[in-house]
């Protein structure tokens, strides 16, 4: 047992402030345990999301000492516990209450993506090597930490013209599926605003599933977009041979 100090955002989108708490904690506790203990002992109406407490559902995203992380996978031991620990809600989305933010925008973006569309004559056989790439993308737990940290959304607020790394990952998984037949490249170039990403890789750095978002999803998509819309040689080639 020892005691730690926490500074937690309390309030709604209209008004709010950081409140300080002192709390007894034990060996091995994660930040989410500390929040739970606060709820049980001092502040039962402290709002925060969580489900699995095992880094599997992506509910408990927050900014701990300024870094976007999962509260259930951040051990107190790994933080400088002799100083006050700051816990804030995700900055990129509107605050609902305390640590819970309104992430509904993400669900709207997802709806716009053309879903999996298998080729009509597809054979449902493929090998592991065909899907290794997409399986990496499908590890995504929708914690939206990448969306939170991506400066295109976080700083420049381009929510209306940009889909964000989470959905580039999703579209990469669909585009690279061996038997998917839909074409999402025009959407990626225009509505999803792939060009706004300047590959600065913050999304990759925060991803709790260690998905190489930038290198494996975004850049390959950018290259596909270049093939289609920018590279004169490829465009000419396609015109000549009437390929897609």
């Amino acid at each position: 047992m020892r005691s730690i100090r926490l500074k937690i955002f309390r309030g709604t989108s209209n008004s709010g402030e950081f409140k300080e708490y002192t709390l007894e904690v034990e060996e091995g506790m994660v930040v989410l345990d500390a929040i739970h203990r606060l709820q049980a002992t001092q502040s039962p109406d402290l709002a925060c999301r969580w489900n699995c407490k095992a880094g599997k559902c992506g509910s408990c995203s927050a900014e701990i000492n300024g870094k976007p992380r999962l509260m259930c996978m951040t051990r107190l031991n790994d933080l400088p516990v002799n100083k006050t620990i700051t816990i804030a809600p995700l900055q990129t989305f509107p605050i609902m209450k305390d640590l819970a933010t309104d992430v509904s925008w993400n669900y709207q973006v997802n709806k716009k993506i053309t879903p999996f569309t298998p080729k009509s004559n597809a054979e449902w056989h493929w090998e592991q090597k065909d899907i290794d790439r997409i399986q990496e993308f499908r590890k995504c737990i929708e914690c939206f930490l990448c969306q939170d940290v991506c400066h295109v959304l976080r700083v420049h607020q381009k929510h209306s013209v940009y889909a964000g790394p989470r959905f580039f990952v999703r579209m990469a998984a669909l585009e690279m599926h061996p038997i998917d037949s839909a074409d999402r490249l025009p959407f990626l170039k225009t509505d999803a605003g792939l060009g706004y990403c300047n590959i600065t890789k913050c999304c990759t750095q925060v991803c709790p599933e260690s998905i190489a978002i930038t290198d494996n999803a975004i850049i390959p998509l950018k290259e596909r977009v270049v093939d289609r819309f920018y590279d004169p040689i490829f465009i000419l080639f396609r015109k000549l041979f009437k390929k897609k």
């Binding site: 709604t12 034990e26 060996e27 091995g28 506790m29 994660v30 345990d33 709820q39 049980a40 002992t41 502040s43 039962p44 109406d45 402290l46 709002a47 925060c48 999301r49 969580w50 489900n51 699995c52 407490k53 095992a54 880094g55 599997k56 559902c57 992506g58 509910s59 996978m73 051990r75 609902m96 209450k97 305390d98 819970a100 309104d102 992430v103 509904s104 669900y107 997802n110 709806k111 879903p115 999996f116 298998p118 449902w124 056989h125 493929w126 090998e127 592991q128 065909d130 899907i131 997409i134 399986q135 499908r138 590890k139 995504c140 737990i141 929708e142 998984a173 669909l174 599926h177």
Partner: protein, 627 residues
């Protein structure tokens, strides 16, 4: 009019957005109906995402000997014949189609390495052959995400972070549901022609549990309060391998996949003790010596030989969960556990570090990040954890209809499929098979109903007032304290091992907790207030706790997950009954009814094919001694 409360009208209302709820909603909406899906957390976060090991279906892609009949038999034997045989049959028959359908909707299962490019399957406890389609150790995530993407593009309307507090009835028919949005706390009314309950499990009733906060038994309680019958409530599964340290992650699941990949248990004497715990029903199927088990391991897991070519039998670590959990519990009780009160599960000395990281990535990370333990170097310390509820709302095996008109149930909150013990991987397939059936039946039911019913506003006022009570009560006890006491009472009185005196005591204590709950108070207001949510959830947990205890009290035998210290054997008379719990005017009403039995000719056919074993059947039916 009910304009006082925000009102929505839907042909089919599905409560719960886990695998079962989503699958039901997809089916209902594919039938052209207006469907709403309500869930307590965000879409895609339901408990189903946590499922790791896989989804059981006799695809036969790896072991060609596998058939649906074998899957059926494994399910029945695993459930100690307490299953509703017809559900087990439908499940075994339809599971392969449901898995392949999932693939058509975009799921990306691991593939076989034989160049044929089929869905790969793996071993799991109690399954005779390799049978679990999987995606690494995140199968539930794959399943949920696939259904979610399918669902939202099909025009299902989703109400997230919305809790249903009560079902509404007209005579013996459900006509709607009343609840609140978690964010704002504002009440909401759903009028519906039919309702599917798919609210998942009850794990939060026990102190050590692998379940998420959502698992507060809401569906059981909603159904019960509306007058539906509950069945098999005594069967609560404890998974043998939960984490035991550090305290904050106690109960967190360690996938059975660890044993599937070769992991073994050892006690503090260094002994691999599972050989001492093989029950008669598994005597033919599991290795009797360490040497045999190791040869099997070497040939099948390390060299990857086809199992049909190997004459050795599987290691006993791969037996069904009830058996393994009891073995671990006994070892720990008798003082052969380790420092944090667990048993060692060792994969480090069995597989190379690379293999472990590749086959069990999330286990590796879970231990590394949460316990600072490198499982490629040292054993994990594990102990039993509350995992799954076999019992639930009693349903018709084909339509999933409850005893109330228009109310259907699927997934973990329904009863019958798993008997007294669920086999790993059988839940995910259960969600799909019966989720689909529930959605279909609900759609058909709704099509017959022409109009939405009027709902009496005073009834809603009453409910809303009830929900508000924690704010109005004078400052008293907070909900967390009550929850924590409730969990302890249940662990002590109706946990893994049960006896009459303990359970009687437990009922008394539950009664006291009920009284305390009436006075529970909450701070703040209705906006996103976890303290308030917990207070409301407690009502449901208490109902479920009482149902479990009362049902367990009645069943004077040990069967599967239900172990009575005072009645250790299978009983012939109890083997033919199932316990039913129902609401009555005063208190909970408990009774027994006949359990439908496998038809004689079907049974004979399976015995002739060597899929079922007559001796084992007789043991489980209490006709001959089994211990």
């Amino acid at each position: 009019m009910d304009a006082k409360y925000t009102t929505h009208e839907f042909d089919v209302l599905v409560i719960g957005a886990g695998g079962a709820g989503l699958r039901a909603a997809i089916e209902a909406s594919a039938n052209g109906l207006k469907v709403a899906l309500v869930c307590k957390s965000l879409l895609g976060k339901a408990h189903t995402v946590m499922a790791e090991g896989g989804i059981a279906a006799a695809l036969g892609t790896v072991d060609s000997r596998d058939t649906w009949q074998q899957h059926f038999a494994d399910t029945m034997i695993g459930g100690n014949l307490a299953n509703h045989w017809q559900m087990a049959q439908i499940h075994a028959l339809e599971a392969p189609d449901r898995v392949r359908e999932l693939e058509k909707w975009g799921a990306v299962f691991d593939r076989t390495t034989d160049g044929k490019g089929n869905i790969n399957v793996r071993h799991f406890g109690g399954h005779t052959y390799k049978r679990l389609a999987h995606v690494g150790d995140r199968t539930g995530l794959e399943l949920l995400r696939t259904l979610q993407d399918r669902g939202v593009h099909q025009g299902i309307e989703v109400f997230m972070e919305c809790t249903v507090y009560s079902l509404l009835k007209k005579e013996n028919r459900v006509v709607g549901a009343f609840g609140y949005f978690r964010e704002t706390g504002s009440p909401v009314l759903f009028k519906a022609k039919s309702i599917v309950l798919a609210t998942g499990g009850i794990g939060k009733l026990y102190r050590v549990s692998s379940n998420s906060w959502e698992c507060t038994g809401d569906g059981f309680a909603l159904g019960y309060l509306a007058g539906a019958e509950l069945a098999d409530m005594e069967y609560v599964q404890f998974h043998p391998t939960g984490m035991v340290w550090p305290p904050s992650v106690r109960g967190l699941l360690i996938t059975e996949g660890v044993r599937g990949e070769g992991g073994v248990f050892r006690n503090n004497l260094g002994k691999r003790f599972m050989f001492d715990y093989i029950p008669p029903k598994y005597k033919d199927k599991y290795a009797s010596t360490e040497e045999e088990a190791n040869t099997w391991f070497q040939k099948v897991i390390v060299e990857g030989r086809k199992e049909e070519t190997v004459k050795e039998r599987k290691p006993p670590e791969l037996m069904s969960r009830d058996v393994v959990a009891r073995a671990l519990w006994t070892e720990i009780e008798q003082g052969r556990g380790f420092e944090h009160g667990g048993i060692h599960l060792d994969i480090a000395t069995r597989r190379s570090a690379e293999d472990i990281k590749k086959k069990l990535p999330s286990m590796y990370h879970q231990f590394k990040q949460l316990a600072d333990v490198d499982i490629t170097k040292v054993p994990m310390e594990v102990g039993p954890t509350c995992h799954y509820m076999m019992g639930g709302i009693k349903v018709d095996p084909e339509t999933q209809g409850s005893t109330i008109d228009g109310l259907f149930a699927a997934g973990e909150c329904s009863a019958g499929m798993h008997g007294s013990n669920r086999l790993g991987g059988n839940s995910l397939s259960d969600l799909l098979v019966f989720g689909r059936r529930a959605g279909l039946s609900a759609a058909e039911y709704s099509k017959k109903i022409k109009t939405f019913e009027q709902i009496d506003e005073s009834e809603l006022d009453q409910l809303n007032h009830e929900m508000n009570r924690p704010f109005e009560n004078p400052k008293g006890e907070n909900a967390y304290a009550i929850l924590s006491d409730l969990q302890q009472v249940m662990e002590k009185g109706a946990g893994m091992y049960r006896e009459e005196k303990g359970m009687m005591n437990c009922l008394k204590e539950l009664d006291q907790i009920k009284k305390r709950l009436e006075k529970v108070s909450t701070e703040g207001n209705r906006m996103f207030n976890p303290g308030w949510h917990t207070a409301l959830d407690l009502r449901n947990l208490l109902i479920v706790g009482e149902a479990i205890t009362r049902a367990a009290l009645i069943r004077r035998e040990s069967r599967g997950a239900h172990t009575r210290i005072d009645f250790l054997n299978y009983s012939e008379s109890f083997s033919k009954t199932r316990v039913i719990v129902k609401k009555s005017a005063q208190e909970m009403q408990v009774s027994s009814e006949n359990l439908s039995q496998i038809p004689k000719d079907f049974e004979a056919e399976l015995i002739a094919k060597n899929i079922l074993n007559e001796v084992v059947l007789n043991q489980l039916r209490g006709k001959i001694a089994a211990h």
